[in-house]
């Protein structure tokens, strides 16, 4: 078997007051387009920071292309390009200056300039080449961040919410760019809060919640493994409802109600009984698979509820 692009083994991270990562293990294979999902504060950025050496794990082990990110940091950092979530930039420099500086940090000189020009071109930055970073719009700064992460042609590319606060057009451009990188053989790890994005791009998805891995699979299986399906009825259910039924309702809109139901339903299941008590029979329900978003919301919600209990 080939070396994994990223391998995490029991990674823990404790801050003074938060336990940000509670022993996370998984691997991302070379050539994958991998999605890392999770609600705000789940620990996604912390995990990414540890991969790039921006943060130190409290315990556990992380390897990038087989190189330990602490002991063999030179080799691991040469193989990973991280686009940070925050729109950071150095106000002293222009786009071109910043790229040559970043490329120089990786030991690359003039011989790399052709590649930097190509990056500018691909990311539509050529016009802004000599503009000071301070004067670029947010979207432009985001592109520069991407270019900076790629100056050393890393085999592993990590995008931490690259589409946050980005307009529709740029979002499309970024996706096609990510696709292209993937086709060219780069391993991509992506975090996003747009589930459709993950749905349309990622092979496998890991869901992180409160510092723990709550799911890891390819999408179809993630959905297939999920023990619920969605029942849709063309009717508004309101008023006093039995407890089980009311907690199973996931949405009401105009004249339609969606209900989370077990995949395996016995005729005498209490939920069906409660439904029939309000006048709805099983054959009035359209049953469908949940979307990734519904699975995601449920995975991360139930963990929150468990925490409360």
């Amino acid at each position: 078997m080939s070396i994994p692009a990223i391998e995490l083994h029991a990674v823990e991270k404790r801050y003074a007051t938060t336990h940000a990562l509670k022993g996370v293990s998984f691997r991302v294979e070379q050539g994958e387009f991998f999605g890392l999902l999770g609600p705000n504060g789940a620990g996604k950025s912390t995990l990414i920071n540890i991969m790039g050496g921006l943060a130190q794990a409290s315990s556990g082990k992380v390897e990038v292309m087989g190189h330990d990110v602490v002991r063999d940091y030179r080799n691991s950092r040469k193989r990973i390009g991280i686009v940070p979530q925050e729109l950071v930039y150095d106000p002293f420099f222009t786009v071109w200056e910043m790229l040559t500086i970043q490329s120089g940090y990786f030991g690359l000189g003039r011989e790399n300039h052709a590649w930097l020009e190509e990056l500018l071109d691909t990311l539509n930055l050529t016009e802004k080449r000599d503009e000071n970073l301070q004067r670029l719009s947010g979207g432009m700064k985001r592109r520069v961040l991407i270019a900076q992460a790629l100056v050393h042609r890393p085999p592993v590319v990590v995008l931490d919410e690259p589409t946050a606060g980005v307009d529709v057009e740029l979002r499309r451009a970024l996706w096609s760019f990510a696709h292209r990188l993937h086709k060219e053989g780069h391993t991509i790890l992506l975090t996003t809060h747009y589930l459709e994005e993950a749905e349309s791009m990622c092979d496998r998805i890991a869901v992180l919640n409160q510092g723990a891995l709550v799911a890891l699979n390819d999408q179809q299986e993630l959905i297939a493994q999920y023990p619920h399906q969605i029942g849709v009825v063309d009717q508004i259910l309101d008023g006093e409802l039995p407890q089980l039924l009311s907690s199973a309702i996931i949405s009401r809109s105009r004249n339609r109600t969606q209900i989370r139901m077990p995949r395996v339903l016995d005729a005498d299941h209490p939920l069906l009984q409660q439904l029939s008590a309000v006048g709805i029979q099983l054959d009035q329900l359209q049953l469908r698979d949940p979307t990734l978003e519904e699975v995601f919301l449920d995975l991360t919600r139930s963990a929150v509820e468990e925490e409360k209990r």
């Binding site: 943060a55 030179r74 925050e86 950071v88 120089g104 940090y105």
Partner: protein, 253 residues
């Protein structure tokens, strides 16, 4: 292994202060010259520190050293603090640079800034008054040592600080007293025995005393002693800086 990455970081740091040349080189040079004009003129006739040397000959090396030291310190400390506050320090942290390389790059840039600023003061001063030169080699040696010591202190201060308040506290409560109580404006031999003892522990005193020896050929302590003290400090601060960088303290969360 010191590589091209280190060289790039050094160049970037130099580039940074040259881009704001007026603020980083010109302004400090002008304010030092004001000291020279005011103190030099007022005390020129009245004060003789070393027999046979005018007060401004005594003052100039001290002022040059003060400018050089403060600017070397300011360069590394404010560059590090600024990139931490802007968040752009991640670009350097993501790169395959060793702690030693980061240290050398920041130190090198701080030294260069110190030399350029101190040099400008000296150059302009020499147009205004006669500057005595005893040994160019010793002047350069002490200039290097001083900007090295203060540049290294700046690296530590920049990493430790979280906002400008912290940095100015460091500057006002450590750097400034060390500089002013080191014999910029006077010889410590005029001090009471107690303060002479205190000055003996002040590294900046040795830097100024040795530096002045390079100009006048006279000093309070033998210049070789000053070389050793300065070297000792530089080695110590280098050890501390590299250890801090290696630990990731306040940089790699």
């Amino acid at each position: 292994m010191i590589g091209f990455g280190c060289w790039t970081l050094f160049k970037k740091e130099v580039w940074r202060f040259l881009k704001v040349f007026v603020q980083t080189v010109l302004a400090p040079a002008v304010s030092t010259l004001l000291y020279l004009l005011v103190f030099g003129v007022v005390f020129e006739e009245a004060v003789v520190v070393y027999e046979g040397h005018s007060y401004s000959s005594f003052l100039i090396p001290g002022l040059v050293m003060m400018t050089l030291a403060q600017n070397a310190f300011a360069n590394s400390s404010s560059s590090i603090l600024q990139s931490k506050m802007n968040g752009n320090i991640v670009f350097m942290l993501l790169a395959p640079l060793s702690s030693l390389e980061v240290y050398i790059a920041f130190l090198g840039a701080a030294i260069l800034r110190g030399l350029i600023t101190g040099g400008s003061v000296l150059l302009i001063a020499s147009l205004l008054v006669d500057v005595e030169i005893y040994s160019v080699g010793l002047i350069l040696l002490f200039a290097l040592l001083a900007s090295g010591v203060l540049g290294a202190l700046g690296i530590i201060a920049g990493i430790w600080s979280e906002k400008y308040d912290h940095l100015s506290a460091f500057q006002n409560f450590i750097i400034l007293p060390l500089t002013f109580l080191s014999g910029v404006f006077f010889s410590i031999q005029g001090l009471s025995p107690f303060w002479q003892q205190v000055s003996a522990w002040n590294p900046v005193f040795y830097l100024i005393d040795g530096f002045r020896y390079g100009f006048l050929g006279v000093s309070d302590v033998p210049y070789l002693q000053s070389v050793w003290v300065a070297l000792l400090f530089l080695v110590m601060l280098t050890g501390i800086s590299v250890a801090i960088l290696r630990s990731g303290y306040k940089l790699r969360g």
